[in-house]
Symmetry: none
Subunit: 230 residues, 4 copies
DNA sequence: CATGAATGAGAATTCATTCAT
DNA sequence: TATGAATGAATTCTCATTCAT
């Protein structure tokens, strides 16, 4: 549809703007293959169980070469998950001039739909790195700190603004914002996890599934016969 | 091949573990302190980064003693997460005599409420072990296999039955059961994760929060002003 | 001679008292052979150029065994040179009750003679360790600190007292004590170095040489024809 | 055998170095800064613990550049200490035409005074290199060999001649020349070491100290009350 | 049962040296 | 001539596991 494609374009612009992170600038082929091998192996065995010698072998370089680019094994890890961590939250880090939410969506539903699709695409493209990130956050204090201070807080702040924007417009019920956010985010992440991690091989119809989720979120799953409780 | 026989060994051990559910039978004090120390350290640093000598030290036993009880470090891990894994799904593994759902709840809401409270309690009591379990499932093929074959499938089957039970009673809308389950489970797990992992220090009013979640699930978060879409 | 042997005995007692350092208590045979091998190799190649694998090989133990006893290679070094460093200055660390010098020697010459012989013996028995010590003091801040704070200062203080004791008795000329000490110590160490390090294979007559040194020190090497200067 | 040919190479290089005494001929600025950096770092950490990459960095050149000028790290060391080693003994390598000692000093005292001042100056100017030299002589066979064969012997021979010259003139007592030399050299080196190494920060009055040393050497430190021994 | 000394395979990391540019 | 990326052997150190006591 015209509208959709125009909207899509706007969203893409709106999102890509903030993605100018690092830019993978001037990496040698060796460095690239080191990174690729590291992503593969960290993702397969976890950071601790991965060995630099295995990474070197898979990357087709000498073990010493890894340490020319990354001082330590942990540096290698951080250089992999760091940028992706930032890009994960790119859509949330938008400018918000003079108190006005720069929100190019007509409805909450449209916003969520676009958002889910966009992050699904991102998660698909960065699947392994995100896996590494999630696995290692509990064990790498530096990641945990960065995650809670930068990521979590920024996202929460932004999402709160968005939610209240739509609450003000009457599209969302009057209920505690944190609970609404948790509910929404859980539903979205629940889908992403099932889709990509638990049952990746299933033949998914994303559009349909997202419609269902949105419908559940907005109208609930309560049927006509549900008991009047409390 | 060596690998096969090793794997065979793993499986045998594993099966024995599963039979020991709830048992903790005839454990010496040393064995108990080994397990406690192992839980602590596996949970803190992850399986690979934990060292048996540190566990021994924390448990107050000699290094060799661990290997009297558990042939390998991995055996120690499995003996910890195995039983808990089974107990995680205990509520789902109820008898279901002669095709009749033995479901002692009047409403879906009552069922969910009871269920969430029950699993919240369980998760609180087994927090560290569950963390270990979640961390290690991706890296321990034997765990992954058991999880997907036994846990996931059993739970899914059971949850499907329950869901359809309430669907038949009109308490849940007519929509694809898998999507409903995903939606429900996501909401519940989302709460548990936030409650126990992301913001454990916050002062939670569980009853209230659960009421909100149930309300969201059943009636949605759509407000009066929401646009008619589709 | 009777006198000499009695004196000798007194001196030995006087010196051994303070040597109760550590005592090489309960070392396993493996630990002993590790230490022996380490002394040998550190002495031959220097600390940095010595490899733990070579030490392990020479000691006849696995490389890991070294690290059971000594956390790091540097620990191994310190555990070797530390005690010897203390024993080097043992003769200087005598009790000095109520301001009275406990000095069981009739003359300065007798004192010096006994002292030189005693330290020559000590240096001969601890030759390699002393070599390591001297080599590594410039590069190991911890050694340097200990040396300057504990060793040098203690010895200087004590030697100053001794020197002034004999100066008061008129056996030593009135001249700045530091210069006298430097002169004396240089002569002694110069002999030890030549004797043990530069020309160890020469057939030395220690008694005669020491007599010469003492004579030089006390009466100088100026001949009858020396010019009246200044 | 490999070792032999390597040794052969060492020796050849070494000889070339020796010929370059005082030369510093046609050194590029890069080469000079390499040498300066190497002196600094070898002196600070010792030869083995110094890394060529650190030297390159301090010198402001690429790692590879060092190896354009010096085949190996050891070559670099030798090219530093070699010339200085030779210059250390320069005053002893004087022409000695037709058996006549070309000794332009009236008295032994005047000679020693001039000599000490001269070598003190030299040592001050070449402090770091001399430190390296002394540190490395025990570990570099080639240095040790050269030192004992060329330096030590030449110096000894020359010093013996000088000493006997003054003995003949009656300025030095009749005593075994080696002992006299040892005594003299010890006193001088003892002063240099204290002056430059042990207490460099002290405010020294060199002239006065040297006078004291000379006085001690020539007349001894024995006071009027010294016991007549033997 | 329990110990803990001993092992040796392998881990991360360093570094002198080479070589294509 | 100078560079610096690349190497791979060597180094320090860790750790699961064994076994004699």
């Amino acid at each position: 549809m015209k509208k959709d494609s125009a909207e899509q374009h706007e969203i893409e612009q709106w999102m890509e703007e903030l993605l100018a992170i690092g830019g993978d600038k001037q990496m040698t082929p060796k460095q690239i293959s080191i990174l690729e091998a590291a992503v593969e192996i960290f993702s397969d065995k976890g950071f601790s169980a991965a060995s630099t010698s295995e990474i070197a072998q898979k990357a087709g370089v000498a073990e010493g070469t890894i340490f020319r680019y990354y001082k330590t094994k942990k540096d290698l890890l951080l250089s992999i998950v760091g940028p992706t961590m930032s890009r994960m939250i790119a859509p949330f880090v938008m400018r918000n001039f003079n108190g006005v939410l720069d929100m190019p969506f007509e409805s909450y539903e449209a916003f969520l739909r676009a958002f889910i699709l966009n992050r699904l695409e991102f998660a698909r493209n960065n699947f392994k790195i995100i896996r590494i990130l999630i696995q290692e956050i509990p064990f790498q204090p530096i990641l945990r700190k960065h995650f809670s201070e930068n990521i979590l807080n920024q996202v929460l702040e932004r999402v709160t603004a968005i939610t209240e924007h739509f609450k003000a417009k009457g599209e969302i019920i009057e209920a505690p914002t944190p609970a609404i956010i948790r509910f929404t985010v859980s539903s979205v992440i629940g889908y992403l996890v099932t889709r990509l991690l638990l049952m990746p091989e299933k033949d998914w119809n994303d559009e349909e599934e997202i419609n269902l989720i949105l419908s559940f979120m907005l109208h609930g799953i309560g049927g006509p016969g549900q008991q009047a409780e409390q």
